[in-house]
Amino acid sequence: MTQWRRVGAWVSGLRVRLVLAFALLGVITTVAVASGSYFQARNVILQQAQDAAVMSLTDQLTKVYPIAQLPPNQDDLELLAQRLSDRESFAVVVYRDMRAQGGSEITDPLTPELRQKVRDGRIAWQRVSLAGQPALLIGTQLALDRPDGTSRPSGVEVYSVRNLVPEQQSIDQLATRAWLTGGLSLVLAVLLALLSARGVLRPVRDLGRAARRLGEGDLSTRLTVRGADELADVARTFNDTAGTLERQVGELRRLESDARRFVADVSHELRTPLAAMTAVTDVLDEEAEHLPGDAGRAARLVSQETQNLTQLVNDLIEISRFDSGTARLALDDVDVAAAVTATLRIRGWLERVRTELPPGVVARLDPRRLDVIVANLVGNAFRHGAEPVSVRLRADPDWVTIEVADRGPGLDPQVLPHVFDRLYKADTARTRSEGSGLGLAISWENARLHRHGERRGSLVAGNGTHGGAVFTLRLPRETADTGGAP
């Protein structure tokens, strides 16, 4: 099916169409010219042969006169037939029931319609096929002059049968030459078509390749402009467009990286004062229990918000590492089930989570990032979904898959595409959430950081068949550290 489609595309391709058009034009022109000249030449050859034969017969017959005896006897007819026969032709002489033939084995070569015309008193001729060979029959009566200028038929009919094989041969030669010319011009037309198709198709192919490269992100792609035709115009326009695109994208990238750098810088700048604040709030926390009323609540609030702010700044720094491409994997051979269990245990969730962790699944990955992802997913499930929360581990030779599911209301289809967006709040009414709003984005980046060849880690959000949100983490089992490409 696809092969047929490919053949169809090839057939309707520019090259084939050009070749066909050229070939058709060549064939039609050649056929018209060759057949025209062929028919004309053939008619001329036959006309000349006929005229010459008629003339020659007339000349020979004038020597028969004056006629002294009528009716002739058989011997007279035989003699006349012999006299009129030569290498190229033979004669048939007819008088009433008598008939004499000079040479040739062919019996009765005369056609009834020719005899009728001759008897009606005309010189007549006809081309016929005798024993498979073309021949010319010429017939005339011998008439007798009268003193008043009129003539009377004598009743003697003379027919000359002339072989047309030499004419046939020269006509066949003409035909052969016509075929040869046609074939040559066809070959020439096809060659010309291929040549011009190449001339047209090469720039088109170049243009296609350049457009594909541009589409793949190579904005520095440019075409070499050759000549001054329409295709060169297209190439020039392409170059202009690519140039504009490159400038604008470069500008956008610069703005974006500026913004990111600003966020990173701000985050770093906030770290030092935050560290100092954390130290102070630690002291405040200890003192809060002894502080009365509002002062104690305020101290605890400041401590809590400082912690949140620290978390946000840390997350921002993490994100900016992904953005700048400096995030690196610290790869290790990890027993995935053990790592997940450790993650849950550390956070005290082991009793609340239904786990399905087959032992012995060893994968090469970054354990810290796996911990971040799993902790984030399970934490989200507790916060936004409903228990029971389940964690399932599956593995095949290429992939490790961890599924975190809850039995909550699930994810709104409108939210689904934005789940991994930064600082995206699903619930617009709730302006302050407990998380930083960057957790899923960081998890997503972490998953994608794991890659091996064509395989690349992924994190997908969806809804389970029995309700509740399902997050599926998929990591390649063998991860190669390819650097911090985002």
Partner: protein, 167 residues
Amino acid sequence: MTGRRTGRALLASGLLLTLLATGCGVRPSAVITGRPPISGPAQGTWVYLVAQGELVLVLRPVNADPSPAAALSLLAAGPQENERAQGFTSDVPAGLDPVTVTAGAGRSGDLTVRANIAAQALSAHAADQIICTTVAAAAQVSAANTATTVAIVGSDGARGPRACPIR
């Protein structure tokens, strides 16, 4: 679309090829007629006999007397041996000879043949034989032509005038 176009192109080239293939070589033709037949002089006296129900011209060796009467005498003598062998006959009675041919006038035709025969009883062939032979011979000595009419006058009256039916 492309298929239909290709099909049309194939049809057109096929037609052309067929035309070319059928038109090749030397084809048989219909009968082509040219000018009137070759004509030349005849030596001898023209006499009309009958063969297979129609008038036929025969030539007799040149006679010292080219007059119509001499030609009619030859006619009255009937077919010769070789002519009879080829199936030639004559309806003219031997009693035609002696005969006179005179230039007639007005109603009796251009020429008048007088003989001691029963002119009314002559068959149509016999009358035509006499008329045609007379005209042919007269043409040698005078200005008789195809339109010349001949009247035959016998013992029982005149017949004709009439022109030779062979033109």
